[in-house]
Amino acid sequence: MKKLRKYAVITRISLQNAIAYRAAALSRFGFYTLFIYIFMMLWRAIYKEGSVHGYSYEQMVWYLIFTEFVGFSCGTGIFNAMNEDVKSGAVGYLLGRPVHYVLYQFFNSMGQMLLNFASFGLLAALLGYLFVGPLPGFTLARVPAVLLSVALSLTLHFFFLMLIGLSSFIMEDNTPLFLIYQKLCFMLGMLLPVEFLPAWLQPVAKNLPFSYIFWAPAKLFVGGDAGLFWTLAPRQALWCAVSIGLVFFVYGRSVRRLQVNGG
């Protein structure tokens, strides 16, 4: 019981720490709003001609709001934190504790993610209503499936970021890996729904994990039905299992090659 309790306390303390960053949270709200506004203007210009690939203008704006909400909820803090820990040598303290490093990082990030999820969720709903009004056809019955899908996508995104973060144990500069991952996510679901991609690329995208981070939950949110949920959620779960397995495998290998700076 004490072993489980320690991870709950880690999340609680990290939540307290996240709440202490008020200025940072406000600046992220500002950035989120600005980003949505700019891309909404872009879509407004594109949508003068009518619907695109089956998405109405309102659906497209809500899609954008939703994918950015998922992105901001997870953040990229885990990647930066792991890099910084290795560079500063602070990783020594973490590895010297009676906790599993991977689990510590997960529960430690959970505090910030919970806060982001709640605050950006409210902001996203507010912006959506202000900018384009209610999402057409959305009913509360869709909420449980969407929430489950978001939970899976956040887990998937988090563990991929952690996988890239772990590379700092063996690489001096892993930023290129992060940038490649970020761009893949951006193009395969975050900015554009998979249906917007060229026909030959769509099946490729649907067989890669990146689409299941942003496209899958956003697609369920803007126009999903129960059938689509049972198509997408198992694939999300599968990629989650793969990413978690990879993280534990890579951690086990890379921790042996760790070099702690400063001795």
Partner: protein
């Protein structure tokens, strides 16, 4: 100074069990680093054909520390001290050799070992910068599986000992360096470890807190049999805390001896301070160097005991007939460490 109750509760099983706390055999740690010649052309060459070099941070150290010992592990910057300690804690994996800490393998049983050891890396922080230290104590209490009531009691006692009361609830980022390090050390003692690795623990502390910390460590060692493995560049830490010193340089042990013998063997000198009733000139003696001006009321001299026994010097001084007081002391540890590091023992000069 008041010592908290939880530090002085005896644990007989810990006190009387004769056990080896640390044992390493031919322990090595090698890093692979990229080497690049100077200049732009070399940078391009390195891009396509990188050259790697093996660097031995620890080169076959064999060391045994018994439980209850207080050992100073000293050496110049880059000697391999921190790497060695991190291998003992299970943070770094050795390249070769074997090691056992408190009967456990740091490589295979890191988390089990972590419950029984404490670490202070004086130049790194384990506290949450944006939160008050008391929140970090709560987190550490949970990590080390200490129940809430016991944790609160220990925090209160540590707070009293380290005088944290005024700033325990202030965000750590707003504390001075000295205040932060007091919190860091207190955090490392929260789970009452059997073996303490102290890597530069007193860096940045003021004299009063340094002394309080040393007294606490001595008391813990005496009452609880806590083993202490210390690295420090402060000679007072080594002199006051440790009976044994292990000196390493470039990843190798260059000296393993009692601290007292270290002083006498390495410098072979005593510092003598004399107070006279009337102005005196110190008689000339081979092996004696007078550090003060002649004809004063006080004199300071160094005695090379290899060339002139200290008893002879004291006898000659007393023959002047006006000696009020004589103090004989060992030279400061700074000089000893400097001599070892430079590999120029004065006795050989």
């Amino acid at each position: 100074m008041c010592i908290p109750e939880f530090f002085i509760i005896r644990q007989p099983e810990r006190m009387f069990k004769a056990m080896t706390a640390i044992e390493t055999k031919n322990l090595t740690k090698t890093y692979r680093t990229r080497v690049k010649a100077e200049g732009l052309a070399a940078s391009f060459r390195s891009l396509f054909k990188p050259v790697w070099r093996e660097v031995g941070a620890v080169n076959g150290i064999s060391l045994t520390v018994e439980q209850g010992e207080m050992v100073a592990f000293i050496g110049p910057n880059g000697a391999g001290k921190s790497t060695f300690i991190k291998m003992l804690c299970g943070i770094l994996y050795p390249t070769g050799g074997s090691l056992s800490v408190l009967g456990l393998s740091p490589v295979k049983e890191r988390r089990k070992l972590a419950m029984r050891i404490g670490t202070v890396f004086g130049q790194k922080s384990q506290l949450w910068l944006h939160l008050p230290a008391v929140d970090s104590f709560t987190l550490l209490g949970a990590i080390y599986e200490i129940d809430d009531r016991e944790r609160r009691r220990r925090v209160a006692e540590l707070s009293e000992l380290f005088e944290l009361g005024d700033f325990l609830h202030t965000p750590v980022r707003k504390l001075s360096l000295g205040q932060r390090i007091r919190c860091e050390v207190a955090a490392s003692l929260l789970h009452d470890p059997e073996l303490l690795f102290l890597d530069e623990p007193t860096i940045g502390l003021d004299v009063v807190v340094k002394q309080a910390l040393r007294e606490l460590i001595i008391r813990r060692n005496r009452e609880r049999g806590t083993t202490v493995f210390l690295t420090s560049h402060d000679p007072a830490d080594i002199e006051q805390l440790c009976k044994r010193a292990v000196v390493i340089d470039r990843g190798d042990v260059v000296l393993d001896s009692p601290v007292e013998r270290l002083k006498s063997d390495y410098l072979g000198k005593k510092l003598v301070e004399v107070k006279f009733a009337s102005p005196q000139t110190v008689p000339e003696m081979a092996g004696v160097t007078v550090l003060t001006k002649e004809g004063g009321l006080t004199a300071a001299l160094t005695v090379d005991t290899a060339r002139r026994p200290i008893g002879e010097v004291l006898e000659r001084l007393s023959l002047t007939g006006s000696v009020l007081d004589i103090t004989v002391s060992n030279p400061p540890m700074e000089d000893i460490i400097a001599a070892i590091f430079q590999k120029k023992p004065e006795a050989d000069q």
